[in-house]
Amino acid sequence: MRLKLPMKNRKLTAKVLKFLVPSLAAAGSLAFGADTQPGKASNPESAASPLLKNAKSLVSELESQQVYTLAQHSSHSSHGSHSSHSSHSSGGGRSISIDDEEFNELETRNYSSTPTSSVLPSSPALVEQRKLKILPGNSENFTNTVIQVQLALASKGFDVGAIDGSLHARSIAAIYEYQSSAGIPSDGKLSPTTLASLGIVAN
């Protein structure tokens, strides 16, 4: 069972919950989480003021979630194309001794994000193994649409930054600004409403 766009469809989500509930029941409890202690992360101070300020627009936005967007445009590469990385499941029943080979890791491992030793990024070979996939946002249609949007917004006086077909932060900021000035639900996306209001036909 593959769960797509869970927020799109509450029925779908309901299905998932239905699927999950028996496992909870089997585990002996549905009343989890109620007694978790807020131990580690210190609580942010009261967040009331931004909340009140934004509550009204927030509520209206929650009511009008845009579901379909170009950002989730159908050009995903299929998962079949993922390179198959071995799943490194643990070493089975092999008996472990601390031999040179193993402890050597401590000494030779690169600097890393976690402090066991340190942090050098990965070796170049490893980085290259991780091939870039075509993500939504990289397809030609998408790029063309982004260029049209950048041109349209620039002509209306918005600062879109580089007009390069990539949805970079400066252009996203411009889309937000345009959306709020045009009274469109502002989500920073190339939503159908946004494109229509700019007179752009998406492919």
Binding site: R2, L3, L5, P6, M7, T13, L20, S23, L24, A26, A27, G28, S29, F32, T36, P38, G39, K40, A41, P44, E45, A47, P50, E61, Q65, Q72, H76, H79, H82, H85, S86, S87, H88, S90, G91, S97, E102, F103, E105, L106, E107, S112, S113, T114, P115, T116, S118, P121, S122, V127, R130, L132, L135, G137, N138, L167, R170, Y176, D187, K189
Partner: protein
């Protein structure tokens, strides 16, 4: 940057051991007595196995440090710095996900040997210490990991764990055991979730079906009364999905205790893929602000990790946590005159011009 592994001169041979440095103690058991030379900075220590000494890469306080010594290689690793809040044990470098922005790309190592040493080290840690267990993916050694938690729960129930796991490896049969662990020791599971959309999440973690498995396992952890912190790294591929993710979490995962919204650590794959992944939230903070609005409105404990305070709107600054570990944290020149520097996460050591946020500035009230 604080270097945590370096060479040492160790007088005996044998397998790796764990020792604790205590000034003026008599060397016995796991305790080593030590002194620091005022002129050279050389730390000389005596253990019941023999003597060892090292030149620290930078001068520091070593009292109470717990060290992993490898006599064969004459190497030493500072497992715990007694004066730091940021003590992390690397359980393994293996991982079954291959996240597009992984700061520490996995390697196929054999790490089982670490567990007995780590258990010993943890039992010597200071009272009420919080210890992060990280990877790789720690639950690839689930049996050893749960054994470690059970051992520590018996010996040192005051210890707090923060375990960074992808949540892919739990099964229903683990629930009773996890419940017993959660009842006896404080464990916070930090689990990544990048989008409410399976395809986007799975494109980021590069593992088909990871999303569904994660959902099932989050509910299993919930049933095991786990404390859960969801962790979401903000990148170009998911930034516009943050608001939906906030709604998703608050609607369907409301048993989750915390939500950490994190700026990307520009090292490893993130550095290699920087151009495609980098999102400058200082230019367009709206998606982050809106996700916070939803989280606040729906009563999720949300925090911004690795976000310098000047890069988010003023009314959102109090969500910024000082999340970057001291040993890899730095500040830039602009920070010199900033009045909020002491409360700020600062920047990762590998933050560079390429990953620079445009709108960083000194905050002067």
């Amino acid at each position: 940057m604080i270097n945590l592994t370096f060479s040492a001169d160790i007088s005996w041979s044998g397998p790796p051991i764990v020792v604790k440095l205590v000034f003026g103690a008599s060397p016995a058991g796991d305790i080593a007595e030590y002194s620091i030379c005022g002129d050279t900075g050389i730390v000389s220590a005596e253990h019941e196995m023999g003597k060892f000494s090292f030149i620290p890469p930078q001068s520091d306080d070593f009292e109470g440090d717990i060290l992993l010594l490898d006599p064969k290689r004459n190497r030493l690793q500072r497992l715990f710095r007694a004066n730091s809040r940021h003590n992390t044990l690397l359980i393994t470098e293996r991982c079954d996900q291959l996240c597009v922005m992984c700061s520490q790309p996995p390697r196929n190592t054999n790490d089982r040997w670490r567990f007995p040493l780590y258990i010993k080290a943890i039992t010597m840690a200071p009272d009420n210490a919080t210890i992060c267990l990280s990877g790789g993916e720690p639950t690839l050694y689930k049996e050893e990991l749960l054994g470690l938690l059970e051992d520590v729960a018996r010996a040192r129930p005051d210890i707090n764990f923060h375990i960074l796991s992808n949540g892919q490896h739990f099964v229903e049969e683990d629930v009773p055991r996890l419940r017993a662990i959660h009842a006896s020791i404080s464990v916070l599971w930090g689990i990544p979730l990048y989008a409410a959309d399976a395809e986007i999440h799975e494109d980021i973690v590069d593992k088909p079906m990871a999303f569904n498995l994660l959902m099932k396992n989050l509910f299993l952890l919930g049933a095991a009364k786990a404390q859960i912190e969801l962790r979401t790294v903000v990148m170009a591929p998911n930034v516009l999905e943050l608001e939906r993710l906030a709604i998703f979490i608050s609607t369907h995962l409301d048993f989750v205790g915390y939500w950490a919204v994190m700026a990307m650590e520009p090292v490893g794959y993130a550095k290699a893929n920087l151009k495609r992944l980098f999102y400058d939230h200082s230019i367009a903070p709206q998606p982050v602000h809106k996700a916070l609005d939803v989280a606040i409105a729906r009563d999720i404990e949300v925090r911004l990790f690795n976000f310098p305070r000047c890069t988010v709107g003023e009314q959102y600054r109090h969500f910024c946590a000082q999340s970057i570990s001291d040993w890899k944290r730095k500040y830039v020149d602009i920070c010199d005159t900033c009045e909020e520097r002491s409360q700020c996460s600062g920047f990762f050591e590998w933050y560079s011009e390429k990953s620079q946020w445009e709108q960083i500035k000194a905050i002067n009230l």
